[in-house]
């Protein structure tokens, strides 16, 4: 009897894993977001940390970012299936970071096109083998080269995707958070999915160009949006108000690092002294701040 019960229980748990559905929230008509937790990617969360989601049209669904591993990709796909009968036509990757693209293979199917910045394929090629090694070592996720799917459609400047009754405008940004950032604008609801061009609560992470990122923020700040979806953090409904913290942090890096370079300070000392007034304003500051200073310093020392 006891054995039978145990057997029944284990069946239930297997069933539950197979049918995992990623929780999503409809933030406005037809726009669904899964909000990630502010954690450092590790072997416990398996890289499942980013905001992901999808937008539903009359003919097509566009998925925006596929997750931190193939299993999370499957759970997101399950969420789409449980939400609508409309088929997935597009998987948009907002940039190369593993928490946004590692779920791609879950969506591979006839009729599904992958979409990304024109520099995304190059970035995937350069970082791919390293990211696969790290997935095994640090995320306890088994992946192989087939899981990294480069875009079928590359966005050079901007591109319109017709989902049926709603049009998405994709924009390839100059180097900012990374050198392959893509934003997604939904005309119908005046929603922009900025992904990692915007961080709220979670400290911004710089892997592209500090000056480039500040320049993109300046342009975006002048526009008005009803809803803004960050790559990490809560939904923004007061644009550009909730973006000011990020702008302040990045501007502070710019000012303090320029001054340090002028004084002749070295990079290894700059990471210990610059920007610590921001420490209590952000989640994961200790995990990413020194890397941010390093990347920004290496960029700014070539000014003049």
């Amino acid at each position: 009897m006891r054995v039978l019960l145990l057997f029944a229980l284990s069946m239930v748990s297997v069933q539950a894993t197979a049918a995992t559905t990623l929780p999503v929230k409809e933030i406005t008509a037809g726009v669904y977001v899964h909000f990630g937790k502010h954690q450092f990617p590790d072997s416990k969360n398996h890289g499942e940390i980013a905001n992901l989601g999808f937008i539903v049209g009359q003919k097509c669904v566009a998925v925006i970012d596929s997750g931190g591993n193939p299993e999370q990709g499957s759970a997101l796909k399950q969420a789409v299936t449980e939400t609508t009968n409309t088929p997935i036509c597009y998987v948009i990757n907002t940039h190369v970071h593993p928490d946004h693209i590692n779920g791609n293979s879950a969506f591979k199917a006839a009729g599904v096109k992958f979409v990304g910045h024109h520099k995304l394929a190059g970035a995937m090629a350069a970082r791919g083998s390293y990211y696969l090694d790290k997935a095994a070592d640090q995320l306890s996720v088994k992946m192989n080269a087939a899981d990294l799917i480069p875009p079928d459609i590359e966005v050079k400047d901007s591109l319109k995707l017709d989902l049926g009754g709603r049009t998405l405008i994709l924009k390839a940004h100059p180097t900012a958070h990374t050198d392959n950032d893509l934003s997604v604008y939904d005309e119908k609801t005046n929603t922009i999915w900025l992904s990692d061009l915007l961080f709220t609560e979670h400290v911004p992470t710089l892997d592209g160009s500090l000056k480039g990122w500040l320049a993109e923020i300046d342009k975006l700040e002048k526009q008005s949006f009803r809803y803004v979806v960050p790559g990490h953090g809560e939904l923004v409904t007061d644009w550009p108000q909730s973006m000011q913290a990020q702008k302040h942090y990045l501007t502070l890096l710019l000012t303090e690092i320029r001054a340090a370079i002028k004084k002749g300070q070295h990079i290894e000392d700059a990471v210990k002294t610059i920007g610590y007034s921001e420490k209590n304003n952000w989640a994961l500051f200790d995990e990413y701040h020194r890397k941010n200073v390093t990347t920004a310093f290496a960029e700014l020392e070539w000014e003049d």
């Binding site: 390293y130 990079i267 290894e268 990347t295 070539w302």
Partner: protein, 277 residues
């Protein structure tokens, strides 16, 4: 008793991965690197000749700043002639070898390197009497989203070959004076996944660096793909009078990231800097 046994068991288990990695690293050194670079030669392990300063964790695998600090004076009679730097676990462990002269003033050198995974950074100094001394430091790899290639290679490519000298402080006549050499170069590793895309970039990196003051060599180096994008070195020279610092830097392209048998010679870039004490 039982409790303490349990505790020590937990303690040992917790330590194991770290110890295992370090042991694995010694294996690479003993089985591959030592026979390759120092076959049959005796090497003393100590911090008496040089010491390494490196961060405990590589915050950015593309740019790990580290420093070699010399413990002996550079005199005509006794000086550090050469320092070899290796990152054991990197796909291509050779970072570079750096030759100094009595004119260098001090055989210190700071640089920025790529560290792919948990690894020892190892430096082996050879003094002019031929004696070899080794020191090492274990660096933990970082996690997160960054990769060991550089954030903005296109920008570095645009500035390719541009160089700058920077003095770190005042010029000290007749005394070792610190100077920084900045070289703009993407230092492309050539590591990539061809399955993902047709896009192919060969290894393309700074290979030779010669720095002289008034014609006398102060630093002569051979470097490789483990050096970060925009190679950056800080070292010493002795400005006994006014003169000119000169850097000649040559790059190369290689067919594969980890073999050096099929490479083509690249371009040479030159930069000079007037010293007025």
């Amino acid at each position: 008793m039982k409790y303490s046994k349990l505790l020590s068991a937990i303690f040992i288990t917790a330590l194991l991965p770290f110890a295992a990695i370090a042991a694995e690293d010694e294996k690479i050194w003993n089985n591959v690197l030592k026979p390759e670079y120092f076959a049959q030669q005796a090497i003393e392990e100590s911090d008496n000749v040089i010491e390494l300063e490196a961060p405990v964790r590589a915050e950015d695998p593309a740019l790990v700043p580290f420093k070699i600090v010399s413990k002996i004076k550079q005199t005509k009679e006794h000086y550090i002639k050469k320092i070899l730097v290796l990152v054991d676990s990197n796909p291509f462990p050779f970072v570079g070898d750096f030759e100094f002269t009595p004119e260098s003033g001090k055989a210190d050198i700071a640089m920025r390197i790529r560290v792919n995974s948990n690894s020892n950074i190892r430096a082996i100094a050879q003094t002019n009497d031929g004696k070899l001394t080794m020191t090492k430091k274990f660096v933990k790899a970082s996690g997160g989203c960054s990769a060991p290639i550089g954030a903005n290679l296109d920008e570095a490519m645009k500035r390719l070959g541009k160089m700058k000298f920077r003095l770190d402080g005042d010029i000290k006549v007749g005394e070792p004076t610190s100077v920084q050499l900045m070289i703009s170069h993407p230092n492309i590793t050539g590591m990539q996944m061809d399955q993902v895309t047709r896009f192919v970039k060969k290894a393309h990196f700074v290979k030779d660096i010669k720095v002289s003051f008034n014609g006398k060599p102060v630093l002569t180096a051979k470097t490789d793909i483990a050096v970060s994008t925009d190679p950056n070195f800080r070292f010493y020279f002795v400005p006994e009078k006014a003169g000119e610092l000169k850097a000649e830097v040559t790059d190369t392209s290689c067919e594969t990231p980890t073999k050096r048998d099929v490479c083509t010679k690249g371009d040479t870039y030159t930069e000079t800097f007037k010293i007025q004490p």
